[in-house]
């Protein structure tokens, strides 16, 4: 089933796909780069295009830092880093 992309996406399907591919690469970088856990324990970090672009103590400051750098939030993987992972039961 193929739909009109503007109705669903608000824009180009190609642009959305490219954005998702880039975002996924950043998420993989975050998952695989174990040194980040040592370096940024207890910090909020923003990863974009395979690089740590902002590091702050709280989420509001992190988002402000990304905005001030002109980095689109939708392209950034935002995470709170914990060296000691708490067990998660959802």
């Amino acid at each position: 089933m193929v739909r009109d992309s503007t109705e669903w996406l608000g824009g180009s399907a190609q642009a959305v796909a490219e954005s998702l591919v880039d975002f996924t690469k950043s998420a993989e970088f975050l998952s695989e780069e174990s040194s980040l856990v040592q370096e940024y324990d207890q910090k909020w970090i923003g990863v974009c295009a395979g690089e740590v672009r902002a590091v702050e103590d709280n989420l509001d400051a992190l988002l402000s830092s990304l905005d001030s750098q002109g980095i689109p939030r939708s392209n950034v993987v935002v995470r709170f880093v914990e060296r000691e992972q708490r067990a998660l039961f959802l």
Binding site: G10, S31, L63, L90
Partner: protein
């Protein structure tokens, strides 16, 4: 075929998707925990803040129930998109997105991809081979890319 990943430290399964909330005119990419125990897809406060969701504009309330008890949530129609492994096809799902109230003590918890979407996939979950793969059995929109 969609491809997820496993967190290196946590071992948790993740899958990235694009969330679009048309009524609020907001969109953002989200790294979801792939959660077959979640009845619905749930956007957690950190991702909602990153997407600039205005909680004052959310009307329909509900609640989510987990091991920590009951928490207030909002429900909003949304579209969630995933790109296939080859990067040449987008699959869209029209869902009722649950959005966790920011007052809940859940700022550090990633958003959850629930069974409203997972039930429409055929999933290979192989942690030992680091493979989280999913064929789309059904979806609400599909776009081929050139």
């Amino acid at each position: 075929m969609l491809q997820g990943r496993f967190g290196d430290t946590s071992g948790r399964p993740y899958m990235s998707g694009r969330v679009i909330v048309p009524r609020l005119n907001v969109a953002g990419n989200v790294s979801f925990i792939f959660d077959t125990g979640a009845d619905f897809t749930l956007l957690m406060p950190a991702d909602a803040a990153t997407m600039n969701i205005d909680f004052n504009a959310l009307k329909k309330t509900s609640s989510s129930f987990g091991i920590g008890g009951t928490a207030k949530a909002y429900v909003e129609p949304a579209n969630v998109f995933f790109v296939n492994r080859d990067g040449d096809r987008l699959f869209g799902f029209n869902i009722q997105l649950y959005i966790q109230d920011p007052a809940a003590n859940a700022m550090h918890i990633p958003s959850l991809l629930g069974r409203d979407i997972i039930d429409r996939l055929r999933v290979t979950y192989d942690k030992s081979a680091k493979k989280l793969l999913a064929d789309v059995v059904s979806c609400d929109a599909e776009f081929g890319l050139t």
